[in-house]
Every structure is written in structure tokens, then in C-alpha cells.
């Protein structure tokens, strides 16, 4: 408001409206104090008047907010005297259509007790009344904020006041208000002080950390590492990961981040070579995607698929990857098995499980159950012969039987029943094989064999 001319002041001060002077730039300090008292006296029974006030907006019309219409419909349906959700007022400075604020309506509202309004709204038409609302206690302030009413945080200037305000907000359990207060504290306190105080206020701290996270400003340890996900260029991503190595991670996590860096470094080298796809295997089985940013196990699978048998010295060889990243035997066998079976290299599959004992005999040994091996082979359409060999290696007779039946490995079923001395089951099984076939004859021979001590 532009400074009023002296003659205007004279007019206002002498007029009958003098008790309602709203010009805070008025020189007559006492009069201002007077009106301030008047306003404050209205504010005393603030809460009691909630119901009356909420029904009318500044222009004197029912509030056209959405929350209002809930209430309207609700109460017309059932006469409950409930309060409706409070509406958060839109900004006072907005030239909002349809909200005809005028000084006259202000006075009207003030004099008409049935539609008495709140002081904060005085701020709406002009900013003259700022002083009056700044007297709200922390408690009143946060309650107003929760209800979406006008408020002001500027008066909370001392650290003590700020903290009182924050604690009051926390005690309300309304995250929206807590964050609003924190935003104010962030703007008006130094980082060090704010952080020091938040350290002893867990709820507020968590709201603050979450707010910073949402704003993209939070730089806690893992969030810093997470930044790499935003870097598209693999070279820059690798360099970024390298810079993360110096962050104070826990021992375990530091190792994982180191692995991440090493892995991407390898992938970049492998990708550069394989992109050209000159080797025969790439022409036969073209790559579907680049290996960049794939998980370690996917990289190992890729290496077992395209680079099997390369000497350990090469970065792309399975042996090198296995060693560098300390991959367990079980994990290695599973992955190599999947890749070699996919290529139908049954010879490679065989040699994965071959171990020689000290006499030089080869024996099949596996860190994963052979039933799982069978499962993987079967999913890769292994021929019956290969499948049969591995079904036979399953230790548990029950499991062996069920898989042998599933994959129609008749010889194994028959042998297993023979080992179990289960003549009855053998007879039952005879019904399932082709009459006159090799299996049929074998069963016939067995059940007539008097030397076996059948259990049934």
C-alpha cells in the first residue's frame, strides 16, 4: 500500500471508522495497538467458532472447494453436524477469479458475528495486518497449518522459537506440517546448526532426509553411489564408480562397489571386442543385446556362451571372471551348465562334472543335485541318452524313480526297482512298457529270476 497522504490520515483518524484502522504504517502507534487488541480478543475463542466460520468464504458464498462439496452432499444425505476437511487456501497474492475480496466485505465480515471470520484472512486483501497474526503461539501456528489456514512463520526467529515450532509440529504427527516447518528452518538456519538439532530429533530428521531425497539434494553415502544410475555413458559411469571407491563404505559394501567398478571395466573391454562380432560363434548365434551393465552372473553366462575355453589370461574368459569375482563352484557350474546346454555342447557338459580320482578313473561329481542338472538339461532339450546318464546319477532312489518315469528312462526305472527288490512295482511297470520290447523282456527276465530276494 502506498504511503497515505497526511490529509487522508486526518480523515481516517477523525472518522467514525477510526477503531478499525488497518494501516500498519499509521504513525499513531497507540491506535494500532488498540486495534490489535481488538483483533486478538476475537481470536481468543478461535476454535469455538470453527463451525460458523467454515461455512462461509470471504465473499460470503459457500466455499466452492471440493472438500466443501463433500460436506455439503454428506450433510444433505444425513444430518451430521460434522466438520468437513479443511481447505488449504490458495495463495493470497493470486488474482483469483471469482474471489471478490474487498475492504467492504472485510468490514461486513467483521461486524456480522454470525459469519465472523479469522484474522489471518485479513492478510488477504492487503498485507496491513501482518502483525496481528504473528502473535500465534507455536501450537496455534501448527494447528492452523494442519487445517490449511493462513499462517506465518516469520516471527519464529530465535533458535529457541524455531525449535519449539518444530517440536510442536512433530507432536501433531502431520508429516505435511513437519516438512513445511523444516523447509522454513532450512532457509533460515545454517546447515550445521540445523543438522545438530535434527540429530536429537529422529522423526524430524527422517522427514528432512526424505525431503532432501525427493528434492534430489540428499547426498548420503549410498545415495551418492546411486547417482551412477543416472549416467548413461559407460565410460563416465565407470569413472564415477571409480570415484565412489574412496567413499567410507562398510567393509562388505566397499568390496561390492569395487566389484561393480571392475565388472563395468571388463564389460567395456569385452563389448568393444565383441561388438564387431567377427568370430564364427557370433555369426551363428548373434548377440541379442550388449553386455554393458548386465549383472555379473549374466556376464559369466555370456562368457561361457561366447568365450568358453579361452585361456585364463584373457579378460573375457570364464576362468578369469570366476577367479576375479570369487564365484563359488556351485554358481559357476550352474551357469556354465546352462550356457553349454543351450549350445548343445554335451561334451562340455560332461567334462564339467568329470573328476579323476588318484587312480585316474573318472567319476561324476556335482556341487548341485543331479536332479537339478537333469532339470536344466531337459529344459534345453537334451537327447534321451544324455538325460538318462544324469538321471542315473541321482542319489535318492525315490527322486531318481520319479524323474526316470517322467522322462521315460525305462532301464533306470527297472534297475531301481530291482535294487529296491520291489517286485510288485516292477510288475505294475511292465504294464506301462510296450509289449515285446526290450524293456518288457528285461522285466520278464527279472521277475522270473528266483535268485533275487524280493521283498514282496
Amino acid at each position: 500500500m502506498s504511503r497515505a497522504k497526511p490529509e487522508d490520515d486526518e480523515y481516517w483518524n477523525s472518522s467514525k471508522f477510526s477503531a478499525f484502522t488497518f494501516d500498519d504504517e499509521d504513525d499513531e502507534f497507540t491506535k494500532m495497538k488498540e486495534s490489535k487488541r481488538a483483533v486478538n480478543s476475537i481470536l481468543v475463542d478461535d476454535d469455538d467458532d470453527d463451525d460458523d466460520v467454515e461455512k462461509v468464504s470471504w465473499s460470503g458464498e459457500p466455499i466452492g472447494s471440493i472438500s466443501w462439496s463433500v460436506k455439503e452432499t454428506a450433510s444433505s444425505f444425513r444430518s451430521s453436524g460434522e466438520q468437513s476437511f479443511p481447505k488449504i487456501d490458495t495463495a493470497p497474492s493470486l488474482p483469483k477469479q471469482g474471489s471478490g475480496y474487498s475492504l467492504s466485505s472485510l468490514f461486513k465480515a467483521f461486524t456480522d458475528t454470525s459469519t465472523r471470520a479469522y484474522a489471518p484472512e485479513l492478510r488477504k486483501p492487503k498485507s496491513e495486518c501482518k502483525d496481528y497474526m504473528s502473535d500465534w503461539s507455536p501450537e496455534e501456528t501448527v494447528r492452523r497449518m494442519r487445517k490449511g489456514r493462513a499462517y506465518s512463520l516469520e516471527r519464529f526467529r530465535s533458535l529457541q522459537d524455531k525449535l519449539l515450532l518444530l517440536d510442536e509440529a512433530v507432536s501433531l504427527h502431520d508429516g505435511n506440517v513437519i516438512t513445511a516447518v523444516l523447509i522454513y528452518l532450512k532457509r533460515s538456519l545454517s546447515k550445521e546448526i540445523l543438522f545438530r538439532e535434527l540429530m536429537v530429533r529422529e522423526v524430524a530428521l527422517r522427514h528432512y532426509v526424505h525431503y532432501l531425497k525427493e528434492m534430489g539434494e540428499q547426498k548420503l553415502l549410498l545415495m551418492q553411489y546411486k547417482e551412477h544410475l543416472n549416467i548413461k555413458d559407460e565410460g563416465r559411469r565407470r569413472d564415477f564408480l571409480k570415484s565412489c571407491l574412496s567413499l567410507p563404505f562398510s567393509q562388505d559394501d566397499a568390496m561390492h562397489v569395487q566389484d561393480h567398478y571392475t565388472l563395468l571395466e571388463r564389460q567395456i573391454i569385452i563389448e568393444a571386442n565383441d561388438k564387431r562380432g567377427e568370430a564364427e560363434i557370433f555369426r551363428k548365434y548373434p548377440r541379442k543385446a550388449s553386455i554393458l551393465n548386465m549383472p555379473l552372473i549374466t556376464t559369466l553366462y555370456y562368457s561361457c556362451f561366447y568365450h568358453y575355453g579361452e585361456p585364463e589370461g584373457t579378460f573375457s574368459s570364464p576362468a578369469n571372471i570366476r577367479k576375479t569375482f570369487r564365484i563359488s563352484e556351485k554358481q559357476y557350474i550352474l551357469t556354465a551348465l546352462g550356457a553349454r546346454a543351450k549350445l548343445k555342447s554335451w561334451f562340455d557338459v560332461d567334462s564339467l562334472f568329470n573328476t579323476k580320482n588318484w587312480l585316474g578313473y573318472t567319476k561324476k561329481r556335482s556341487p548341485i543335485g543331479f536332479h537339478r542338472v537333469v532339470d536344466i538339461l531337459q529344459k534345453n532339450n537334451a537327447p534321451a541318452q544324455v538325460l538318462q546318464e544324469y538321471v542315473n546319477l541321482i542319489d535318492d532312489p525315490e527322486l531318481r524313480l520319479s524323474l526316470a518315469q517322467k522322462y521315460k528312462c525305462h532301464d533306470i526305472v527297472i534297475d531301481t526297482y530291482k535294487d529296491l527288490k520291489d517286485r510288485q512295482q516292477l510288475i505294475v511297470y511292465q504294464g506301462k512298457v510296450e509289449r515285446g520290447s526290450h524293456e518288457d523282456r528285461k522285466i520278464e527276465e527279472l521277475i522270473n529270476n528266483m535268485q533275487i530276494r524280493w521283498k514282496n
Binding site: S65, I66, S67, S69, V70, A74, F77, R78, S79, S80, G81, E82, Q83, F85, K87, I88, L94, K96, M145, H173, D174, G175, N176, T179, A180, I183, F195, M199, V200, V203, R206, H207, V209, K213, E214, M215, K219, L220, L221, L222, Y225, H228, L229, N230, P248, D252, D253, H256, V257, H260, L263, P295, L296, I297, F325, I327, K330, Q331, L334, G338
Partner: protein, 607 residues
């Protein structure tokens, strides 16, 4: 956009009752279609009358191509979205383009969002409004707040921004269907929501209406994480696990419809076929559907030997209904087939066996190696995580060497960026290391020390140490959550709520509700609540104390509010409990959840 979709009107659901009728006469449920009408009217009012909206676009955080001179955004109060809108406005400004902008926040706006507008210098160019849409009735007995973010923001981030919204939702229900006579609850958030609701109601006038809902039970999701992490085997839950039900409707793809197009179906009590199988254990569903198919055939067969008049009557009276049933039946048969196919392919039996062993605490080493192999084979990233969490929750944490090794293998299989996921799970207490010999006080003093530590890096550690123990074994023993093994459990004639998990486990959340209702409070459950970290309460409502006015029926209607989401299996269990005890449950939830959604909310492997 899905908000709008969510508001689409469905007519009043005809009062279809459950397949089996209750032990006692079950009271009628209140009519919630009013809630939907309210929400719709509000939105229409906002869009048409206030802002003259004629076209809707989905917010995709991409540049806007439009010649309109006013843009209106209907959004969730998320900072990221508001930032994007600010960019749109600033781009327009730079190009000298004049437009009016309006943001309608739903269900409410946040100060932090307005602060973004202010910071970006567009406050004033953009005006804000609110669509206070809190409650979407998904069915006769399910109301959703459709706030999936509630779970992560409240339980992981510790942000209480939705407490007021939950309190407000409760207030609305109270004003329409109350007054409630009793409110029970457990959980830190439940307590805050109750407080918020109470304060919101306090200013209101005395109630004079007839109450329709008598009792309320508020429960935090973190009271029971085990139940939502288990594989669902009841039909509705399975459909949700596999096809993902959104806002009460599901899209069945070509593999179900056996045609080349997808069909969207509303899944609620109006679908007569669905209504009869939704709460059934999956093993019964096929039998039921084939019986139904036979009945349908018989009904169609009636046509044979009809004369013209009879035929005319048949066509006009029965045929339409039969055709409708036919359509639904073939859809659900298709869905069941699809479920069967998927569940056998993934070695589902083995997975279930592992889950049950974990719940029982039986052959835990075998479970650990099953999980390890699951991870090694790079099968479903979410399932691996789910099993890890179940292992941790049932065993009060993993042995340190298991934790290190399984975490390392997980990162190798699914990507090292999951480091953040693990940190989140640790913070939530979902996947932790065992703390051998550490008593609570030792832990507390350690936490105290960390909180005072000034390095920011220690912050997350401090939070994670606050994560509580699950005490599942002891709870399960006290509450008899695991029925004796070896006994035959007839899934067609369920004897308790355990049927929703094939008779292997009674859901903890539902068992608590049962116990509290039975005892009319927490008396006698002190040991249990201590193991659940307290925060339980029971309050008698109705300050006016007009007990005489309260209808007896309303006392048997119980509103259960899940803060952080509930699963369809839990709803099925409560429906069962209701039939057994003569209650009717109304479930109000911040969102429908399942193991997939719950864990996906905690993943942090993307920018």
C-alpha cells in the same frame, strides 16, 4: 490418469452374499456407493464447472504439445511431478507463451509442493486446488485409499505425511456410518492415525444418527510382514499375484482369453462366478468351475424339445443370463489354466514347500540352500528377495555368514546396484543379520551413540539398528499360527483361517483381530503385544454414551483399517472369520498389496 479411471462409476453392487451362509444371520453391510458418488461429483465439479476441462492426458513427465491456453493437471502431491510442471511453465514463459495453469492435487496438497512452485518462480502463475478423494469402494466390503506410496513413505522413509489423510478418511466414514463404539489398534502409525482422526472429530457436533459400523480395528502393516510375503493360493489372491488387479479390475491377456485380444474385467461380488470362487483355495477352483460348466450345459440343453412359445420365453428370460455366465465362466477357466501353467513352470511346489518349512522352522538349512540355488539360477528377482525376507523374519535374522554370502550372491545375480535395496530392507527390519547375544538395551545404547555421531554416513545405520525383531517363532507358538503338521487338512471344508495358506499358517494379522474381538480388548495378550513392540490400544468411543441407541447389528460390523496395505488373502481370511463368528468385516486399506508390490516399493535399483 488412473485416478480418473478409478473414479469411474460402477452401479450399486447388488447384495450378493457369500457362497456359504453364516453361522448366525450376518448383518447387512452399509452402502458404500455413496462414497463413490461423492468422489465422482467432486471431480466432475472441479473439472467441468470450475475449469472447463475438455480433454485429459496422462502425466508422463514429457514435454507438452498442446495449443490450449489453459492447462490443468490432476496429480498426486509429488515433488517430482510439481518440478516437471514448473519446467513446463518456465519453458512456456521463455517462449513468450501465455497460458493459465491449474494443479489439482489429490487427495491433498503438500506445503513442500507449493514450496517447489515458489522456488521455481512459478507460484502465482500456477493455481492450486485439491480433490479430497480419499476412499474408493472396490467392493461391498473393500474400500481403498489408493495410496500405494503410503507404505514406503511411512515405514521406510519415516515420513508422516499421510497420517492426516488416513485420519481424514476415517473421519469421513465415521461421519457417514458412525458413531463407532469401540476402536482397537496396534502399531505406531495406527496410534497416530487414531489421534489425528480424534482431533478432527473433536470439533464436530454430537452424533444423532443410527450407527451402521460398530467397531474399528487399526493395524500397521509392519505388525505383520510375514503374511503379505507368502505366496497366495486363494483364487483372488492368486489372480492378483499373477495378473495384478488394479482398482478392482484385471486385464486378462490373450493367454487367458484364447483370442488375440485382452479383456478387462471388473472383479467384485457382481461377477457371480468370481464371487463363488474368490475365497476358495485354488485346489477347489477347477472342480467348482467344471461343475458350473455342467450346470450351464444342462441349462442350455433345456432348449431341446421346446415349442415356439417356450423357446421365446427362454430367449427373452434366461438366455442373456446364461450367456453372461458363460462368458465369465470361460474367462475364469482360462485364468485358472494360465495360473496352473505358470505355477508348474516355476517349480511352484518346491517354492511353497520352502515357504512352509520356513514358517514351521523345519529343515531351515535346506531352505537356505534352496534360496541360494534360486538366486544362483537367476530365477525371479522378487521371489528370491521374498524368500530371503521370509527367512530373516521367521529366524529373527540371518546368521552373519549366511547374510554375507547370500547378499553377495544376490548382488552377483541381479545387479550390484541392489546394494540400496538391501539397505532399505535392513532399515525396515525385513532382511537383517542376527545379533548374537545382544539384548535390547545394548542395542539401544548403540543406537543412541550412533544418533549423536555427526557423520551423515552413519545415519542409515542408526535407523537400521532401530528396526525391531520379529519374534515370529514365539508369536507363532503363543497364537498357534502353525497347525500341527501331519494332520489331514481338508481344504474344501476349512476349519480355520489357515486354509488360505493351504492349512500351513494362520495369518498373524487376522489372528490378532480375532483375538482382540473375542476378548473385547488386549487383556490377556500382554505377552503378544510386547513381542509385537507394543503400541496397542483399545478405546470406547461415543462421548455421549448413548449405548441404548446403538443397534445390535452394527456391533457385529467391524471395520478393519490396514495402514500400509493388505492382501486379498487376508480379506478372504477375514471373510471366513466373519462367517464363523457372525461378524461382517469391512476392510479399509491404504492400498491392496501383495508380495510383489510390497518388495517392489522397496527396490532402489533404478534412478
Amino acid at each position: 490418469m488412473y485416478v480418473i479411471q478409478a473414479a469411474a462409476v460402477r452401479g450399486r453392487c447388488a447384495g450378493c452374499l457369500m457362497a456359504q451362509s453364516g453361522r448366525r444371520d450376518a448383518p447387512e453391510l452399509p452402502d458404500f456407493s455413496l462414497l463413490k458418488r461423492l468422489a465422482r461429483d467432486q471431480l466432475i465439479y472441479l473439472l467441468e464447472q470450475q475449469h472447463e476441462v475438455d480433454k485429459l492426458y496422462k502425466v508422463e513427465l514429457k514435454p507438452i504439445v498442446s495449443t490450449a491456453d489453459q492447462l490443468c493437471f490432476l496429480i498426486r502431491p509429488r515433488i517430482q511431478t510439481v518440478k516437471w510442471i514448473s519446467d513446463v511453465v518456465n519453458l512456456d514463459k521463455a517462449a513468450g507463451r501465455l497460458r493459465r495453469y491449474k494443479i489439482i492435487f489429490t487427495p491433498q496438497k503438500f506445503y513442500a509442493c507449493e514450496a517447489v512452485l515458489e522456488e521455481q518462480g512459478v507460484f502465482g502463475d500456477v493455481t492450486c486446488d485439491e480433490w479430497a478423494f480419499y476412499l474408493l469402494p472396490l467392493d461391498d466390503d473393500i474400500i481403498s485409499l489408493e495410496l500405494p506410496e503410503f507404505f514406503r513413505e511411512n515405514f521406510l522413509e519415516g515420513d508422516q505425511r499421510w497420517v492426516g489423510a488416513a485420519g481424514g478418511a476415517l473421519r469421513l466414514i465415521h461421519s457417514l456410518y458412525g458413531p463407532f463404539s469401540k476402536v482397537y489398534g496396534i502399531g505406531q502409525c495406527a496410534k497416530m492415525v487414531y489421534e489425528s482422526w480424534r482431533e478432527q472429530v473433536e470439533d464436530g457436533e454430537q452424533k444423532t444418527q443410527q450407527p451402521e459400523i460398530g467397531n474399528v480395528f487399526l493395524i500397521d502393516r509392519d505388525v505383520d510382514f510375514i503374511t503379505p510375503l507368502c505366496s497366495q493360493v486363494v483364487y483372488e489372491g492368486l489372480v492378483d499375484d499373477i495378473f495384478r488387479i488394479k482398482c478392482g479390475s484385471v486385464e486378462f491377456g490373450p493367454e487367458v482369453t484364447s483370442s488375440d485380444k485382452s479383456i478387462k474385467v471388473m472383479l467384485n461380488s457382481q461377477d457371480k462366478v468370481f464371487n463363488e470362487i474368490r475365497n476358495e483355495h485354488f485346489s477347489n477352483v477347477f472342480g467348482f468351475l467344471s461343475q458350473k460348466a455342467r450346470n450351464l450345459q444342462t441349462a442350455y440343453d433345456k432348449r431341446r424339445g421346446m415349442d415356439i412359445q417356450q423357446m421365446k420365453a427362454f430367449v427373452s428370460e434366461e438366455l442373456k443370463g446364461l450367456k453372461q455366465e458363460h462368458r465369465l465362466l470361460s474367462l475364469h477357466i482360462g485364468a485358472s489354466e494360465c495360473i496352473m501353467k505358470k505355477k508348474t513352470k516355476q517349480d511352484f511346489q518346491e517354492l511353497l514347500k520352502t515357504e512352509h518349512s520356513l514358517l514351521e522352522g523345519f529343515e531351515v538349512r535346506e531352505c537356505v540352500s534352496f534360496i541360494e540355488e534360486h538366486i544362483n539360477r537367476q530365477i525371479s528377482m522378487i521371489d528370491s528377495l521374498r524368500l530371503l525376507c521370509l527367512l530373516s523374519l521367521t529366524e529373527n535374522g540371518l546368521l552373519p555368514k549366511d547374510y554375507r554370502s547370500l547378499k553377495a550372491q544376490y548382488l552377483q545375480s541381479y545387479g550390484i546396484e541392489h546394494l540400496l535395496t538391501f539397505s532399505n530392507l535392513k532399515q525396515m527390519g525385513l532382511l537383517v543379520e542376527q545379533q548374537p547375544g545382544e539384548t535390547l538395551t545394548v542395542m539401544e545404547s548403540k543406537v543412541g551413540k550412533l544418533v549423536n555421531d555427526k557423520t551423515a554416513g552413519k545415519l542409515t545405520d542408526a535407523f537400521s539398528s532401530l528396526a525391531k525383531k520379529s519374534n515370529f517363532r514365539a508369536l507363532s507358538k503363543r497364537l498357534v499360527l502353525i497347525p500341527k503338521s501331519g494332520e489331514e487338512y481338508d481344504l474344501r471344508v476349512p476349519r480355520d483361517m489357515a486354509y488360505i495358506f493351504s492349512g500351513a499358517y494362520v495369518p498373524l494379522s487376522c489372528k490378532l483381530i480375532e483375538q482382540v474381538l473375542e476378548r473385547d480388548g488386549w487383556t490377556g495378550l500382554e505377552e503378544i503385544t510386547r513381542m509385537l513392540n507394543g503400541h496397542e490400544f483399545a478405546v470406547s468411543g461415543g462421548a455421549n454414551g448413548t449405548e441404548s441407541r446403538i443397534k445390535a447389528d452394527s456391533q457385529r460390523i467391524v471395520l478393519v483399517m490396514f495402514l500400509g496395505g493388505c492382501t486379498y488373502s487376508e480379506i478372504s481370511a477375514l471373510r471366513f472369520l466373519g462367517r464363523e463368528r457372525g461378524y461382517k468385516f469391512i476392510v479399509v486399506t491404504t492400498a491392496i498389496t501383495n508380495s510383489g508390490r510390497l518388495l517392489e516399493a522397496l527396490l532402489d535399483n533404478h534412478p
